[in-house]
């Protein structure tokens, strides 16, 4: 369920891209500080987006400084530190969500994967307790969501009802980001459609796998004659959600990070839809090769001018 909310790199300005990277690295550092080194593994693009959204809405101050990556100490990187709640909230959400996602894996997977997930989950237990202490409402909301999700799956619900628990969770989470009543209303809707979009794209992305393993997926009932048509249907459902999400987003008053958040909403979502639904794995490889070819071409060009 993670990693779908990210900016499209090609549409970012270089300084925006560096700022984004610095928030990502800063969140990793903050996770390490708050919950210990193991919790750094929970770092995700979605929580980076949450940190930026929080900072933007609460107009919290950020400082960028030089640092070194803990995972790869040879790599220098910029680290962003945000004064206020943004990083702590995003870190707590990251830890809590990962823990419950692992619990979900334990419940649905085969023996080997289950045992693996159990071991990793045990490592996160301490972090979860700490996060739950700082943000008890978020933990109870997530627990509620997991239960509601189970009920939805048992009832073999349609797309809307299956997406509802995740959507509601994000709705509650986003509502927390403002104290102004009107903004809360907007954030509630924004969060709802954001959660819905994440759930649906995750379901569409896993469709093939779920059909193979006979797992629950709301799109199984909605299958069309060919896989292509099914994916077109998934895309339409996502478009509808994105349109609503953008309508709510446009009513938000954002400060810093607005350009990056705009990029996620206007380009990132569409890019992810294309990537997950219409580009099969072989094509992805093909794209990588194309990129390499472009690189070769540019080196060739620069080499060519030197020779002249």
């Amino acid at each position: 369920m993670f990693g779908y909310l990210r900016p499209e790199r090609e549409e970012l300005k270089v300084r925006e891209y560096e700022l984004y990277r610095s928030v990502y690295c800063g969140l990793c550092k903050s996770l390490g500080k708050d919950y210990g080194i193991i919790s750094r593994l929970t770092l995700s693009y979605d929580c980076t987006m949450l940190a930026m959204l929080t900072a933007s809405l609460k107009s919290e101050c950020s400082h960028v400084s030089d640092g070194r990556c803990r995972v790869n100490p040879l790599k220098k990187c910029l680290m962003c530190d945000i004064e206020g709640e943004a990083m702590h909230l995003a870190g707590a959400v990251s830890v809590i969500m990962t823990y419950y996602k692992l619990s979900d894996t334990i419940a649905d997977s085969g023996f080997l994967k289950r045992t693996g997930a159990r071991i990793i989950r045990a490592l996160f237990k301490g972090s979860l307790k700490k996060a739950g202490k700082s943000y008890p409402e978020i933990e109870s909301d997530v627990r509620e969501m997991v239960q509601a999700q189970q009920i939805a799956e048992e009832n073999d619900s349609g797309i809307d009802a299956s997406a509802d628990p995740t959507a509601k969770l994000l709705s509650k989470l986003c509502r927390r980001l403002s104290d102004d009543e009107m903004t809360q209303l907007v954030l509630e809707r924004f969060g709802y459609y954001l959660g819905r979009w994440i759930y649906i794209i995750d379901a569409a992305d896993d469709l093939e796998k779920d059909i193979k393993h006979h797992s629950f997926n709301p799109f199984i009932k909605e299958q069309r004659k060919t896989p292509e048509e099914t994916y077109l249907f998934c895309n339409e459902t996502l478009n509808m959600t994105a349109a609503q999400l953008i309508m709510a987003y446009e009513l938000l008053e954002l400060g810093s990070y607005k350009e990056i958040l705009d990029n996620v909403v206007y380009h990132g979502l569409s890019f992810q839809q294309r990537e997950c639904l219409f580009e099969k794995k072989s094509e992805k490889k093909d794209r990588k090769m194309k990129k390499q070819r472009h690189k070769d071409y540019y080196t060739f060009l620069s080499g060519g001018t030197d020779r002249r």
């Binding site: 509802d164 009107m182 459609y193 459902t237 609503q244 309508m247 446009e250 219409f278 060519g304």
Partner: protein, 211 residues
Amino acid sequence: MKDPYQVLGVSRSASDEEIKKAYRELAKKYHPDKYNDTPLADVASEKMKEVNEAYHAITAERKNGSPDSSRSSAYSSSYDSSYSSSYSNSYGSSHQSLFDEIRAMINGGNFSAAEEMLSGIPSDERNAEWYYLMGVVVYRKGFLSDAYNYFQTACRMDPSNEEYQSMFRRIQQQRSGSQGGYNASSSSAANDCCDICTCLICTDCLCNGCR
């Protein structure tokens, strides 16, 4: 009141043209028709009012050389979001009064009660209006796929009704990806373009090599 320049997102030194452009963009963004039938209609119209006031405050200030707030309110357009104008009586069934009651509930913002009443109507007595109203209720809740199906059924049962058609068209437009998301049908054309470009670049490359 907020600084009108800040509301429009322009600097104090911006030209009249720039202000007009910023105003037009914001007015398009917050246009009440876009938010019709969503829970954010009130917020959007509030923003629209703010933008209108800011624009007129700036134009008045520039004309007279001093801020003039008394005129600004006269300009702000009022927007009526109620359904009353578009009542349809094409069916004239025994449930008409009940449907009117449900519409009143929807206008009043009492969606769960409206949904409960709609669900209480037995399935063989469900007409186009039932499907339309049910669509409106679940659309507000965020159940977009169900809403799409309801509106589709309503349009199929009563193709001549403009109210159902316009709602269905709106949702169809959203599904196409023109208002966010990914438009899958245009992708093949874009790919072809890219291929042509790559071809040209490669040819160009060869030409450079020859020189």
